[in-house]
Symmetry: C2
Subunit: 280 residues, 2 copies
Amino acid sequence: MAMETVSTARAFGGTQGVYRHASTATGTPMTFSVFVPPHDEGAKLPVLWYLSGLTCTHANVTDKGEYRRACVDHGIVFIAPDTSPRGDGVPDDEAYDFGQGAGFYVDATQAPWDTHFNMRRYVEDELPALIAAEFPVADLTRQAITGHSMGGHGALTIGLRNPDRFKSVSAFAPIVAPCQCPWGEKALGGYLGSDRAAWRAYDAVAMIEDGARLPELLVDQGEDDAFLAEQLKPELLEAACRDAGIDLTLRMRAGYDHSYYFISTFMRDHIAWHAERLKA
Amino acid sequence: MAMETVSTARAFGGTQGVYRHASTATGTPMTFSVFVPPHDEGAKLPVLWYLSGLTCTHANVTDKGEYRRACVDHGIVFIAPDTSPRGDGVPDDEAYDFGQGAGFYVDATQAPWDTHFNMRRYVEDELPALIAAEFPVADLTRQAITGHSMGGHGALTIGLRNPDRFKSVSAFAPIVAPCQCPWGEKALGGYLGSDRAAWRAYDAVAMIEDGARLPELLVDQGEDDAFLAEQLKPELLEAACRDAGIDLTLRMRAGYDHSYYFISTFMRDHIAWHAERLKA
């Protein structure tokens, strides 16, 4: 699990780094980025995880997410994993929404995906352990998680699965119910097989229906998002949270699409919201 | 000079657009981006031009520049042109620092470059006229200009050449004296020929030595910039401004490199500085 530094650069007074390590969960090298704001020697800072969407790597949010100033303002470490294993020996699919770049934060059970596509345990277990070992500035007793689209699905499901670990969970335009949309049906069917019962452990709405609980959730969603009606369906999360007594703040944003223009606009709000809860 | 809209997206309450038009200056289609912050119907907003560096298009700063929130805060239109003509019929060079992506904001006089590489008159004359015609929100009586590296050279030289047009001129890690560095000697030699006297019209330090004047300049420069000693040489600008009585604020930034991590960190400061002068 030795880690190598791909690059570091000074940014907003802190350090934006990109790192690579040999993952046991995926059996591949995995790349991720970490922003560490300026801090006193020996300080321990809370951590915000950001999970990315289809086709993305760590680089999209690192380049376009506009999170660094807010992380400096609030003293938060920002970590962006990749969205799947990658490389020549890793199975892939020609479509953008399955295979490499589309790991969906599941542990695959179906060949040929089950060898490498273990993004659930990579993000839930292995990468946090690496962060704890390699970044003593990161205080893993104070974690929050967010993400975009497929990564919003990842944030919601990982958050719901680990209610004691995360002080707060939010998402930008998440896939809230992969069991009920084409992206999710394709991915969960491919990685987990045809038994839909197995899919429910990776579906935020189904997890809530099945008893998972968090005190609150924050979701921003663009009203002009081209994927809103067919893939994202925030109304399903709204109904599940209402029935379960989860305090969901769902903000529909007029005129916004699915892009990083939308994410970067509201990133500062999400970081401030997490900061309140991380420091409570 | 008809303009087509390539894309628009809501961002920070405003509109980030990308546009294309048939340029007469370059004889090619040219792409640029414009961010228009939210504004009252009929409002006229000041304009900040941003000229990009070697290898860049409009997209680098549009993706990574983190300028939109500050432009909203100050009510400024932000325009990012491309760095050269492009396309199959346009001459190029295998190197990253000459030809396509490296127009150096000159009007070339040497074949084969002189047909298309007319970025001086494109940026100085043609694009402002297009903006005036197509973006009535842009108040071209209030313009400011900035840029990065080769684009910092562009901002300084265009600003010095047009002291009555620009209320303020700044730069990030600019090439201040292309006559005295390898990038500049190659580019100016290639586009303008071997007579170095002709180069001085495109060299900020030489222009100041030859009498060009602005009341003040703002420059940020990373101390860990890999191009600092050989290519950028801010000390030459410092000496020229001292001799000419130009009030140069040169901020050397410890630990910063030449990347957009550096630019985005200080973008807000530059926009605030321009805003003060645009609204004075």
